[in-house]
Symmetry: C2
Subunit: 191 residues, 2 copies
DNA sequence: CCGGTTTGCCAACGCTTGTTGGCCAACGCT
DNA sequence: AGCGTTGGCCAACAAGCGTTGGCAAACCGG
């Protein structure tokens, strides 16, 4: 088998990543159905058939293009009352620098596979976070879901639907308003 | 079949509404692109061409199928501290009895026209609500947007993405957790 | 310098989509 | 009864989709 080490890197790696970049952009902008392989290929300046060669089919391309690590911070090192603020701020930055999340949300809404992937990400990555803060293990899924409710709602209105007043909010305002909510979902006693 | 009564109403009214019902269901279940006119017509037991005759094109059908009145209650008659709870409860019922809202959300995420309609509905119908409670007119759009953030986030995770722990929550639990949030977005002083 | 592998494009297939126009049957009025 | 209007279906269209297979060129180890 060819090994990429040594003299010169294979050209294919270049276009492989070009395809992925174009795919992420299109999926984020248009959702699964409207993001056509032809359009993605044109953006990457190659032939549509190359996409198939490298990623098998459209689903494979989506799976390869959208792999998300939320990189959630370690909350146990923070003072208890600041965890809400830290989380909201982290998500805000994450979402603005990474169009993958928008793609995932757009696709998750109309596509079953996308929805399941979203479930996986927010289930598995948000859960340990609740584990760090809330003592009762029984409540972890509930609290993670509540946080997802607020954070995904923010992303939905601000980055996908683009409701004007939600877009107009400055980052500090968002944090000021939402941090107490997330803080409460994470640390408040069961009502 | 059911007689529409009177001196014999034109049969067209029957199929017109049958088409709308089928369209709502399909748009809610599949989103805009995957809800095909052919499938909608089959659900309504008529020919696809009839859909075109009655509604012009697919966009026209969507526009006709999805017209939403949130029927928001008059909050000014309620004791101040109960408005949050009333709102969350109202939305919960609204969403569970009316698949139009799911359709609208699904379509709004991938379709520009859908997004604009969503902007219209939540902008125009949530805004007067803030007007009833919050004194400063300058803050009304912001507060309406914040509420949309939380309520749409709930709908997204619970009814569209169907995140298991969000689905598992009982209505009373949802109200108990989310009411204080909405209450705060509505009535708390600007942070 | 040569033969096999890689990289890429082209052309086409089969299918589904929204959309159109023509034809037929039932109805309602006079 | 006769006639226009309406409700409905059928067949077809053009366009766009994901996907496939074959063929030319570039590359690279020997």
């Amino acid at each position: 088998m060819t090994d990429t080490g040594g003299g010169g890197r294979r050209r294919s790696e270049t276009t492989r990543t070009a395809i992925l970049a174009a795919a992420r952009e299109r999926f984020a902008a248009d959702g699964y159905e409207r993001a056509t392989i032809r359009a993605i290929a044109k953006d990457a300046n190659i032939d549509p058939s190359m996409v198939m060669r490298y990623y098998g089919n459209k689903e494979g391309l989506f799976a390869a293009a959208v792999s998300v690590d939320l990189k959630l911070p370690d909350l146990s090192r923070l003072p208890r009352p600041e965890v809400g603020e830290a989380l909201v701020l982290h998500f805000l930055h994450l979402w603005e620098e990474n169009e993958v999340l928008t793609a995932l949300l757009r696709v998750g809404v109309t596509n079953q596979a996308g929805a399941e992937r979203m479930q996986g990400i927010f289930g598995e990555q948000l859960l340990p976070l609740a584990r760090q803060v809330c003592p009762d293990p029984e409540q972890h899924p509930t609290r993670a879901a509540l946080i997802a409710t607020q954070l995904l709602g923010l992303a939905l209105t601000r980055y996908v639907l683009r409701l004007p007043p939600a877009v107009a909010l400055r980052a500090e305002e968002v944090v000021a308003w939402l941090a107490p909510t997330v803080q409460r979902y994470l640390t408040a006693p069961n009502p």
